[in-house]
């Protein structure tokens, strides 16, 4: 057999296998069981082949496995295209490549594929931990690459890993330059397929019983807010998200409001309560942002629609930052005459008991709108409603079921029932979902709003304006005044972080979150604007894409030259540190006016220095030691690491 085509050694093959798994490890969390099974099966088989030095399976068997792989992909994802099936396909194919590995060339293919798989981890997460992990994976893959190229086996394992780590570290400057200078395209860098964030939790655009409830156990951060100035009270922290005005008897959902319909918000000039703040929003995959009532000024790329929702052009698949000024005292008067009915629509022949209750309460309030609302709220207050995370399952007439049978519900139940009662009485009303609350991070002076702060409330058109009503506040005032952790809910359903009394856990979590926040602000949120600002800060005014690329190329070249020089120099130092430091020493003496002649040996040079330079006794002693050590180290047949250390130390100290 041709020598070049000889199969890599068992150790190398195992390293290749380990490399694939290391690079794909974080991805396994989101993978269907069938694929995971297939991967483990192939891995075990491959280990068997390597350990027993078996031959690779034949063509037919290989094709069978490939077909099996495609079938299981189709079975798991329903398709072969899209991001997640794509990544799974690459992982499977890379694993299969091992089964037909005949030479070093196949090994290279596997390692390069592993690099690709490693990069694909960032589809799912951009956390700092993943970045740290990826560094280790890259070092490992580089070490495998070295092992693969080192066919004569001249490098020890330790040296190999040391080399790989060094290469990884040497790549850091390039990484930083590319990170800072690579031209940013507004929006995600590459077109992410629609399923890119399928696995993420957060508010959705619809609300049905249980949709907010499921978020409560998540301590994940929804967004962080940095207030520039005053901070609103806890019960004023209504982070308005989506307005839901269509109800089908079970689910509230958004109405398509054309952007041509303008918002109609009256801002007050005097005595206005304004808050200015910057929000760093985790990816929501929605096109609306969260803001306090009602945004007055915001970035030009955002629009405030008719329903006073702050909209973005695209769905938010990245962490984004935006700054808003909100006036909590502003009044929303946006309801056109012709669309009033749309906010009064209810499904036909549903919830008869609720309709009857509505009639009864209307009569009680003598058909006065405000009195009616008051009656409804006191109905919630006085009829033993329970605010709970474990509501009962509701039947077809969900509102009836809730109001008259179970009376146990979470905020979405109350918001839904309240809005229903309003519409039943002919009042335009709608549900608003968003977040209520937020906790200040004492360490870093910003507010954290978690998924567990998700909330739903109602807005009613009364006195020619939309007014916010929160029936949950009636049932559980502490929820609104204090926050979810004090609402008297079942503690075991809440995230540990919220219910913990341990000061230590809390401060650690705040500390961690400060760090996470900076990471989001400066790494993930480093968009075109931040890039421009940063470059301006550095003194580059003209930051067009062409200039950026020019700067990028120049800096990369300079860094490349600098690093090459460093490597060369280091090799010289490593090859002969004694001579290297002797040269440094000689050049130092050269600065005193007595450079070493090129053909001058150490003995002659020492004599000449002592003869011609008038040095202090201490210096003379040091000089004598250095020359003696140099002669012993450079011309003697033994290496003495202690002497070498002392020698280098003395030379470094020699002035």
């Amino acid at each position: 057999m041709n020598k070049r085509l000889s199969k890599p050694s068992s150790a190398t093959l195992l390293a290749l296998l380990a490399g694939i798994h290391l690079s794909a490890l974080p991805l396994y969390a989101n993978m269907p069981v069938v694929i995971l099974l297939l991967i483990s099966l192939l891995t075990l088989w491959q280990v068997f082949i390597i350990k027993r030095q078996q031959e690779n399976p034949g063509r037919t068997l290989q094709i069978t496995i490939i077909v099996a792989a495609f079938l299981s992909l189709l079975f798991s994802y329903g398709q072969l295209f899209g991001q997640q099936p794509g990544i799974a396909l690459v992982i499977l194919m890379t694993l299969l490549k091992l089964f037909e590995t005949r030479g070093a060339r196949d090994g290279y293919t596997i390692i390069y594929s592993s690099f690709f798989i490693t990069a694909s981890n960032f589809f799912h997460s951009q956390s700092v931990w993943l970045v740290v992990y990826v560094f280790f994976v890259i070092a490992f893959l580089l070490a495998s690459l070295i092992a693969l190229s080192d066919r004569l086996n001249t490098v020890s394992t330790k040296t190999r890993y040391r080399m790989a780590s060094r290469f990884t570290i040497l790549a850091l400057p390039f990484m930083l330059i590319l990170f800072v200078l690579f031209p940013r395209i507004p929006g995600p860098l590459w077109g992410l397929p629609d399923d890119a964030f399928a696995g993420q939790s957060g508010l959705s655009e619809t609300m049905s019983p249980g949709s907010i409830n499921r978020l409560i156990s998540s301590s994940a951060i929804a967004f962080r807010v940095k207030f520039h100035g005053d901070i609103p009270e806890h019960n004023q922290r209504y982070w308005r998200g989506a307005v839901l005005s269509i109800y089908d008897g079970k689910t509230w959902s958004r109405r398509d409001v054309p952007l041509t319909e303008p918002p109609n918000i009256q801002y007050q000039d005097t005595k206005a309560r304004s808050f200015r703040y910057s929000v760093t929003l985790q990816p929501t995959n929605m096109n609306w942002l969260l803001a306090l009532e009602y945004p007055e000024s915001y970035g030009a790329q955002y629009t405030l629609n008719h329903e006073a929702m702050l909209l973005t052009e695209n769905k938010q698949s990245n962490v984004i930052s935006y700054t808003v000024t909100s006036q909590t005292t502003a009044v929303n008067r946006a309801l056109l005459e012709q669309e009033q009915y749309k906010n009064r629509l209810l499904p036909l022949n549903h919830n008869p008991q609720t309709m009857a209750l509505s009639d009864q309460l209307l009569r009680l309030s003598k058909y006065n709108r405000e009195d009616y609302i008051r009656e409804v709220l006191s109905y919630f207050r006085n009829n033993h409603f329970v605010y709970t995370l474990n509501p009962d399952l509701l039947g077809d007439n969900a509102v009836d079921d809730f109001l008259f049978n179970s009376r146990r519900g979470f905020c979405e139940h109350y918001a839904s029932a309240f809005t229903y009662l309003m519409r039943a009485a002919g009042l335009p009303a709608r549900v608003v979902i968003g977040y209520q609350g937020g906790e200040m991070n004492p360490l870093d002076d910003y507010m954290i709003v978690r998924q567990s702060d998700a909330h739903a409330w109602a807005e009613v058109w009364i006195n020619d304006r939309w007014q916010r009503f929160d029936p949950t506040a009636v049932v559980s005032p502490d929820r609104i005044e204090q926050g979810i952790q004090d609402a008297g809910l079942e503690q075991d359903r809440l995230p540990l972080l919220l219910v913990s009394n341990s000061h230590f856990i809390k401060s650690m979590s705040f500390l961690y979150d400060s760090f996470q926040n900076s990471w989001n602000q400066w790494v993930i949120g480093f968009d075109q604007k931040k890039q421009n600002d940063f470059l301006k800060f550095l003194g580059f005014e003209n930051t067009g894409t062409a200039n950026l690329i020019l700067l990028l190329v120049i800096l990369l070249t300079l860094t490349g030259v600098a690093i090459s020089w460093l490597i060369l120099r280091q090799t010289i130092v490593e090859r002969d540190p004694v001579q290297h430091y002797y040269n440094i020493f000689c050049s130092r003496i050269g600065r005193l006016g007595l450079p070493r002649h090129l053909n001058e040996g150490p003995v002659d040079y020492e004599k000449r220095i002592n003869r011609e330079l008038n040095l202090a006794q201490q210096t003379r002693n040091d000089l004598g030691f250095i020359f003696k050590a140099y002669r012993a180290l450079h011309y003697r047949n033994q290496s003495n690491s202690d002497l070498l250390k002392l020698y280098i130390k003395k030379i470094k100290a020699f002035k």
Binding site: V603, R631, Y635, N637
Partner: protein, 316 residues
Amino acid sequence: MDKADLQQLTTSAERLNTAIQTIGQVILGKDRQIKLALSCLLAKGHCLIEDQPGVGKTTLAHTMAQVMGLEFQRIQFTSDLLPADVLGVSVFNRESSQFEFHPGPIFSPFILADEINRATPKTQSALLEAMEEYQVTVEGETRELPDPFFVIATQNPQHQIGTYPLPESQLDRFLMRIDLGYPDKTAERQLLEGENRRNIIKKLQPVFDKALLRQLQQQVTALHVAPAILDYVQSILEFSRQSGAFEFGLSPRGGLALINAARAWALIDDEKYVLPEHIQAILPAVVNHRLPVHLEAGSKQTVTAAQHIMESVGIS
């Protein structure tokens, strides 16, 4: 120097320096040349002295032999000298009816081959081959020469008529060429004032014996030469071959000569390893006779090959 004193000299270096001093009592003001000659002996090389008559070539050889405790033989080369006169002859002994070998003067450990250029090339090469091989073959029988075996050959550079100066290729066989030169004023005065050199030589106590000398020669071979020194020697060889300053460069034997001579010099200097200075110290003696300077027409070449090399080859 008494025997008791000599016993006390423990290290080789001390003994060697005592030897140099002792020789220096006879050859005044030529310590450097004595040291070179001694290095040459220690490095198992042979020495060529090319100088005016009467500067003390014979005296040096004689004194050295005496101090080193070696039997001294002098061979005066003349144009009618035959190889057999140097190597020895087999003579038929009538009584035992056998040929008996009568060893020539070459079977002495210390030989002064005086005015070697007066002999015919045939005789010269008999000596040179013996120097190289440490053995002589006479009438088909190979005989070992004594160990140690050291030759000091002299060559008179003037009155070249009717002589056969050694060709360059033969010069290579001498480890060193030492120039004695005239003594300086003080030394000459001392010389003029002092008693007959021959008488002093007779009174000298040997500092070494053969066994000790062999031991020293082994020490020289074992002395450490660092890669840095080999680098330096290689640069010298390369320079001698490629600079164009010389008609032809140093041979590999020249490189070995440099290292061995430097080792011997280092031993005398009481160093455990060779330093670049040692190479430089023996450089003129080792390379000057091996590198004929390429004389350009009209140029007044005053720089020797060694000086040229020293100035041009750097120590890294």
